[in-house]
């Protein structure tokens, strides 16, 4: 098994832990100060020489200086990388759109590599006309563009018993937001004609896990999409190329990737993924089922443990807020662990079941801060504290941890994931 976080080179990691690591750290410091040869009044190297021509980089990549902006995993979480998760580097991003290559991954049997010519979507069950669609068929239908967040129900699931993972990439990185292009599921179902006794859909993936979930027909007809593009280009293989289901505001597990089949039925199926997994075990040993909606939640992405504060003075506090119940209405920020709050400034689009970007500006002079953010959605739901959640749910439920996150900013600028009480 390879060690893939950062550079994907084990040898490099080992190398860095030795004395050379100190040298590397020193080099980073020097880079901050800058190379005097490139600084005024001198002329920078790139101001004097030719760079790469057009089409040398036929599919562009981020600058070589941004190599640290990558998905990462937590290897002890899972038994294998084929059935595991990697996390979006939220701390490195701004705005609301997640670049396609940074969208977190959750696979149950690895990434299926589906040949688009051999892609088929089957719709059958309680329908008038069972149908099979090719990818070209789907692309011929009227399409829409929608920006939605996709959050795994287990996002922040490691934090139920207290602060555990030190970085918002790990605590909150099972979310991404892209613009989907696709066909309303309603329109596709209309082609087959749902019989009047149809109440639930079984939606199934074409990968080797064949992940299957029961989806209420009402949700399918409301706002679900059969999507084939993200941010303009075709879906990435790890996001279900060529076709995935979009279930706005609902837990990511239902957004079936490599979608191959939709069966219309009159009852839910109670599949493994909606019984053994994705049910929320309460303190009394009973479990909530079909907890589809992702409640309002927010997190400060910077500063955060992977983005410490560099200097005193003016600070921009930046974060994301979202709700599966509708639009975000307001975000508040606290610097003292939730005793006093101020309204943050939301900048950019405010869309249904989509992330918003918020900012709060403040002066910092080295005093300890306990940074928190609190989201409120248009239904009036206000993100609860972690303790308020625990009071109702206990600490066994794994899923749906939308409690308020606390980052402690220390005098030296370091930031830590902490629990407050």
């Amino acid at each position: 098994m390879t060690d893939s976080n950062d550079d994907t080179r084990t040898s490099r990691r080992r190398f860095l832990t030795g004395a050379a690591g100190l040298a590397a750290a020193g080099a980073t410091g020097a880079a901050h100060a800058g190379n005097p040869k490139n600084l005024p009044p001198n002329i920078a190297a790139w101001s004097k020489t030719l760079g790469d021509g057009v089409a040398v980089r036929p599919y562009g990549h981020p600058s070589k200086f941004e190599k640290n902006v990558i998905r990462r995993d937590v290897q002890w979480l899972t038994a294998s990388r084929e059935s595991s998760v990697s996390f979006t580097p939220l701390h490195e991003l701004d705005g609301i759109i997640t670049p396609n290559g940074l969208c977190f991954e959750r696979h149950h049997s690895g990434i299926a590599e589906v040949d688009p010519d051999d892609y088929r979507l089957m719709i059958h069950g309680l329908v008038d006309r069972p149908l099979i669609f090719t990818l070209d068929d789907i692309k011929r239908l009227p399409r829409v563009n929608r920006i939605y967040f996709l959050e795994c129900a287990a996002n922040t699931g490691m934090e139920w018993r207290g602060a555990q993972l030190n970085g918002c990439q790990y605590t909150h990185g099972m979310i991404h937001t892209v613009q989907y292009t696709g066909v309303p599921l309603k329109l596709l179902l209309e082609q087959a004609g749902v019989k009047t006794n149809g109440k639930w859909l079984l939606v199934e993936g074409g990968d080797a896990s064949g992940l299957d979930r029961s989806l209420p027909l009402a949700k399918a007809l409301d706002d679900c999409l059969i999507a084939y593009r993200q941010n303009g280009e075709m879906l990435r293989p790890e996001q279900g190329y060529p076709v995935r289901l979009v279930v706005p505001g609902w837990q990511g597990n239902m957004w079936i990737k490599w979608l191959r089949r939709i069966e219309v039925g009159d009852k839910p199926w109670y599949t493994r993924e909606e019984t053994s997994k994705y049910t929320d075990l309460m303190e009394n040993g009973k479990a909530r089922k079909f907890t589809f909606v992702m409640d309002a939640k927010s997190v400060i992405t910077s500063p955060s443990p992977q983005v410490p504060v560099k200097r005193k003075g003016f600070q921009v506090i930046s974060g994301l807020a979202w709700s599966g119940r509708g639009k975000i209405k307001r975000v508040d920020v606290s610097l003292d662990g939730g005793r006093n709050w101020r309204a943050a400034r939301i900048d950019g689009p405010v869309l249904d079941k989509c992330c918003v970007r918020f900012y709060a500006e403040a002066e910092w002079n080295g005093e300890p801060w306990l940074l928190q953010s609190r989201a409120m959605d248009e239904t009036g739901y206000t993100q609860p504290s972690k303790d308020a959640l625990r009071k109702i749910r206990g600490v066994n439920s794994i899923y749906h941890n939308n409690g308020i996150q606390t980052w402690a900013l220390k005098a030296n600028g370091e930031v830590e994931n902490v629990e407050v009480g």
């Binding site: 038994a79 089957m122 199934e204 303190e283 909530r288 902490v418």
Partner: protein, 227 residues
């Protein structure tokens, strides 16, 4: 035909610019057959229609005994799930865990947690063995699921699982689930006027992620820059 096309075009043109994600007319207009897609034949459907419901609808023909299942299990499953379903490493545990769901170390297994036979049968049928999915014959599938039930003392050593015996299997935790009740049990969270000032006594740090130290090493700068 051409009339309805022009109507749809008109509706699209009239739709407001998509600042909000308003539901446009696409998919909201009266159903229309676009003449796209092929009829799925019964044979095509049969090849892919592998789901099984709690009431046994969808269960295939065939049968398998606990005894036959043991052989298959030891050969194809035990390396990850353990000889007795106790799990090897971090792979899912399949057996035991009875009486642990209300503790702070809940062990969710087929016997302690799964509500229906179909929940495990449907899963094994589509996803197991890990890395060799959909390779078991129907008889092998019935047998190996029967053995997993037997590991959990849900059926006896002589049991043969099939469509005919499906209804005899009762899972211990069938009544362990209830519908999402957040809108009732968490009604207090719908509070559009949360406290803004002097909310409770000063807070203290009660736990540190850095102390637990389970975060992967990454090359993000962790040190603050302030002297």
């Amino acid at each position: 035909m051409s009339k309805s096309v022009s109507l749809i075009v008109a509706a699209l043109l009239l739709a407001s610019p998509a600042m909000a994600q308003d539901k446009t007319q696409v998919g909201k207009s009266p159903p229309r057959n676009y003449g796209v897609g092929q009829v799925a034949t019964p044979a095509q459907i049969a090849g892919w229609d592998i789901d099984v419901r709690p009431d046994g609808v969808g269960a295939p023909a065939g049968k398998g005994s606990v005894k036959d299942g043991e052989k298959i299990y030891l050969e194809k499953c035990a390396a990850c799930h353990g000889e007795f379903g106790e799990s090897a490493g971090r792979w899912p545990q399949l057996a035991q865990g009875k009486g642990t769901l209300a503790s702070h170390d809940p062990v969710k297994t087929v016997g302690s947690y799964f509500p229906y036979l179909s929940s495990v049968f449907d899963y094994v049928r589509r996803a197991m063995p890990f890395g060799d999915a959909q390779s078991l014959s129907n008889d092998e599938l019935y047998a190996v699921v029967a053995f997993v039930l037997n590991l959990n003392d849900i059926v006896d050593d002589k049991f043969v699982l099939s469509k005919d015996t499906w209804a005899q299997v009762r899972m211990p935790n069938e009544s362990g689930f209830y519908d999402d009740d957040r809108e009732k049990s968490e009604k207090a969270f719908w509070n559009s006027r949360p406290c803004m000032k002097d909310c409770g006594p000063p807070v203290k740090i009660t736990g540190h992620a850095a102390v637990i130290d389970v975060t992967p090493e990454d090359k993000t700068p962790r040190k603050g820059g302030v002297e």
